[in-house]
Amino acid sequence: DQQVKQNSPSLSVQEGRISILNCDYTNSMFDYFLWYKKYPAEGPTFLISISSIKDKNEDGRFTVFLNKSAKHLSLHIVPSQPGDSAVYFCAASEGKTSYDKVIFGPGTSLSVIP
């Protein structure tokens, strides 16, 4: 049973508009959440993260929101650019057990249309 879910396998957005990628988790022990970005034929790269003590973290065009009560997080990209077209993985870890062990979701493929 997947502990980290990304229910939208793909998303298409017009350049300049907002992209919203969603992620749900089932394990209430998760206390650190991350987003990784992956281009074809490359390994994933770290994008942004958030601790469970916060509900928002912003880095340039990227903002992650966390709703602990709903066990839901989202990644907002504003404005979206064609170079943002990639697969985005949501991930989570239980810091109290091990910050190293990270559980990834299945990914959402984002296409930003020029």
Binding site: Q6, A41, G43, Y99, D100, K101, V102, G107
Partner: protein, 116 residues
């Protein structure tokens, strides 16, 4: 330019053959991870090491998969015998273990395995 390297990049083999994938972590990193990417499951954690000691291999099929770190600069993932369902992209990642905080994992480019 420090990066994780993986060899081979592509491997095509026949069912029943042994497959060995290699990973060179970033110098100085003390944790190494093996992941498998499939369409259905996304990125699955197979095993990880800290200071060359295996910490968790619960995601790995024990009967045919094995992971080792012969030294600090080399991690290997072996499948024997390989089966068509093992076809996937296998990623290695390395990082610095954090006792009190998360530290970023740096991924290699992956090995695309096809078992016929």
């Amino acid at each position: 330019d420090a990066r994780v390297t993986q060899t081979p990049r592509d491997k095509v083999t026949e069912m029943g053959q042994e497959v060995t994938m290699r990973c060179q972590p970033i110098l100085g990193h003390n944790t190494v991870f093996w992941y498998r990417q499939t369409m259905m499951q996304g990125l699955e954690l197979l095993a990880y090491f800290r200071n060359r000691a295996p910490l968790d291999d619960s995601g790995m099929p024990k009967d045919r998969f094995s992971a080792e770190m012969p030294d600090a600069t080399l991690a290997t993932l072996k499948i024997q015998p390989s089966e068509p369902r093992d076809s996937a992209v296998y990623f290695c990642a390395s990082g610095l273990a954090g006792a009190r905080s998360y530290n970023e994992q740096f991924f290699g480019p992956g090995t695309r395995l096809t078992v016929l």
